[in-house]
């Protein structure tokens, strides 16, 4: 890894005025460099596609704070007991050995966009010609009155996979018959629109399987509707009668505050008490995005629909949950799709490869109960300055069991496929 501090960079650049007229990557003496911040569905895919398709002509560095990556997608299936944590945890080894990607383990603390360097938490710097920002989401802790990062150790959000998910699972497994679980769902926009409702299903599955049918999961939602609502609610009635209750704002009147230590959520209607609180706050782009000045007032990053290039800095691409991707939901599938468009445009910038028109896709599967999976999907294309949906589908109520089982098998195949596409 080349380490160049900001000051050294200035000296170096100032030393030769002629060098400044050269393209950035020639100035940097050697191959063009791409740095990717974030090794999830967006970042890992982008790193792999840039390295793979440029055949070694581009130097790719992938920065992620973890040695191993636990996917947030399918983490609800871990909560439900359908997957082990190991089965959703992946190594970056193949990206390094098979694709020549440099993996830097650590937290990117800031970006100097003028100098084109990323500064790590330990003070080291990594220079780039093109930067991919794919940090996922951060939580807006104060969006739920009474909640905080510290209190997440008691009332987990589990909206980033890993320790939080393990905590949620352990707390779920300790529930006794008759005890309630209260989930506070997040407002739009957030990572994985059907996620809270799949999670409620998985929690009910665990309770039911243990015969704890006097327990229930109560969802307090700031939204008046949610993804795949009809099919989810049909599934809850069918599989978990009386065990999952969903209240929108027209019923609870507004979520006022939580008291994590007392295990209560106060709404305009009533105070709800639970043995387990699962608080999922509002969300924004991962901290590095705002630190780098790439976000707008929404807390997310505006991009060009044709390329995923930041509208704020043409040397930067923002993909995945941190971006404002028009009609596309924040999902792993979306991030993976966006990564391929960004990778193609980055290669075109740096090694003059061909650019084809951007095409985007998404599909999300949600498991409601064993062998009963529902799905939603759409195609997207740039239109009038944003990524717009061109066509879509969603599972229907009343579908037969073989179709739902096939959906589940398809989702398992998709997981194997996308993780192979991300990690090599």
């Amino acid at each position: 890894m080349t380490r160049l501090t900001r000051r050294q960079f200035g000296l170096f650049a100032g030393a030769s005025a002629a060098a400044l007229t050269l393209p950035t990557y020639l100035r940097a003496q050697g191959k063009p460099r791409v740095v990717v911040i974030g090794g999830g569905a967006g970042g890992a895919t982008a790193a792999r596609y840039i390295a793979k398709d440029s055949d070694g002509a581009i130097d790719v560095t992938l920065i992620d704070q973890s040695e191993m990556y636990t996917t947030c997608f399918f983490s609800n299936l871990y909560v439900g007991g359908f997957r082990s944590l190991e089965s959703i945890t992946h190594s970056y080894d193949a990206l390094q050995s098979g694709y020549g990607i440099t993996k830097v383990t650590g937290r990117a603390a800031s970006v100097d966009r003028a100098a084109k360097t990323v500064t790590m938490e330990d003070g080291s710097t990594v220079p780039y010609d093109r930067l991919v920002v794919a940090p996922g989401i951060d939580l807006v802790w104060d969006s739920v009155e009474g909640y905080s990062e510290e209190l997440a150790e008691i009332a987990p959000h589990a909206w980033k996979a890993g320790k939080q998910t393990e905590l949620l699972k352990a707390r779920l497994d300790a529930i006794e018959n008759g005890q309630q679980i209260i989930m506070v769902a997040p407002p739009n926009p957030y990572r994985c629109p059907p996620g809270p409702y799949e999670r409620a299903s998985m929690m009910a599955h665990v309770l039911k399987a243990k015969g704890l049918t006097d327990s229930k999961v109560i969802i307090l939602d700031p939204k008046d509707k949610f993804s795949k609502q009809g099919v989810f609610q049909e599934g809850w009635d069918k599989h978990y009668p009386g065990m999952v209750e969903w209240y929108g704002p027209d019923v609870h009147g507004g979520i006022v505050s939580v008291d994590v230590n007392a295990g209560t959520v106060e709404t305009d209607l009533d105070t709800f008490k639970g043995a387990l609180l699962n608080i999922i706050p509002a969300q924004k782009a991962g901290a590095i995005a705002s630190e780098a000045g790439l976000t707008d007032d929404s807390g997310f990053c505006p991009i060009m629909a044709e390329s995923m290039r930041s509208t704020i800095d043409e040397a930067v691409f923002v993909i995945g949950d941190a971006s404002i991707a028009g009609d596309m939901p924040k999902s792993a599938f979306s991030a993976n799709s966006q990564a391929k468009v960004a990778a193609m445009n980055i290669r075109a910038d740096l090694v003059d490869s061909k650019v084809f028109p951007a095409k985007y896709a998404n599909t999300c599967w949600s498991l409601v109960e064993t062998d009963d999976s529902i799905k939603v999907g759409a195609q997207y294309a740039p239109a009038e300055g944003k990524i717009a949906s061109t066509q879509g589908f969603v599972s229907q109520t009343g579908e037969d069991a073989p179709l739902r089982k096939a959906n589940y098998e398809e989702s398992v195949g998709w997981y194997a496929g996308i993780t192979a596409d991300m990690f090599g």
Binding site: Q379, A406, W414
Partner: protein, 245 residues
């Protein structure tokens, strides 16, 4: 794609299991478990192979008359080089060679395209091979061109138009980014069928089977609805050029 392909496979694959069921009923009384067992044993194969009257080539060749057939010898199926070479070297399918092959197909015939990891358990293999021996004792499959509904004709004529187009594999590779999120680029299949190395003709026909609702998977119908003819041709050119790893 799983749902439709398996439904497809079952439609044809089931012709025999149903017949078996009747046989078992006559011979051994109403013993559902035997027929269920047979159905179960062939189920993973039915994603790609058909058996029974009118069986056609799918991702894999039809299996009618399998026993005694020289490997890689059906004239109208596009085999891998490895499979053809094995046949040329004298490999003939019988209970023993099939069992050896099915244990670990990729090792038994290097470079063959069958996307199946194998059956390590000898008893499982014996059950499958014995079931296959009965089920595949068929008259040779009907000429696929001779049979078929109006939809088949429609699919055929659409496909013929696309097959005239010289697909751009480079464009195909970019478009394939959308496919390989689910259909693994390595050719491995873990619940979603492999499309690596599919013959162009089969690939293009499959696309139009989604257009005409012969195949009904919503994810695939949506993807295909958004592909222009030159894009289908590009994808067919790209995927047919790949070899499974």
């Amino acid at each position: 794609m799983v749902e439709q392909v398996s439904r497809h496979g079952c439609n044809s694959g089931l012709r025999w299991p149903l017949a078996m069921l009747v046989l078992c009923w006559i011979v051994a009384g109403p013993d559902r478990s035997v027929a269920d067992e047979a159905d179960k044993v062939f189920k993973p194969c039915a994603n790609c192979h058909e058996i029974g009257p009118g069986a056609r080539h799918r991702v894999g060749p039809h299996l009618d008359g399998l026993f005694g057939r020289t490997a890689g010898s059906l004239p109208d199926f596009r085999y891998s080089e490895g499979m053809r070479a094995a046949g040329a070297a004298g490999l003939v399918w019988d209970a023993r060679t099939l069992s050896d092959y099915l244990e670990k197909p990729r090792d038994f015939i290097k470079g063959n395209r069958m996307s199946f990891r194998g059956m390590p358990d000898a008893q499982d293999r014996a059950a499958l091979v014995s079931w296959l021996e009965t089920a595949t004792e068929q008259a040779p499959a009907a000429d696929p061109a001779a049979s078929g509904s109006d939809t088949d004709g429609l699919v055929r004529s659409f496909a013929d138009i696309v097959l005239q187009i010289d697909g751009d594999p480079e464009y195909g590779e970019y478009l394939a980014g959308e496919c390989v999120t689910c259909h693994q680029a390595s050719g491995h299949a873990d619940g979603i069928p492999s499309i690596v190395g599919l013959p162009k003709d089969y690939f293009v026909k499959s696309m139009f089977e989604y257009r005409t609702n012969v195949r009904s998977n919503e994810v695939m119908k949506l993807r295909v609805a958004n592909l222009a003819n030159d894009e289908i041709a590009a994808l067919a050119a790209y995927f047919s050029s790949l070899e499974p790893q």
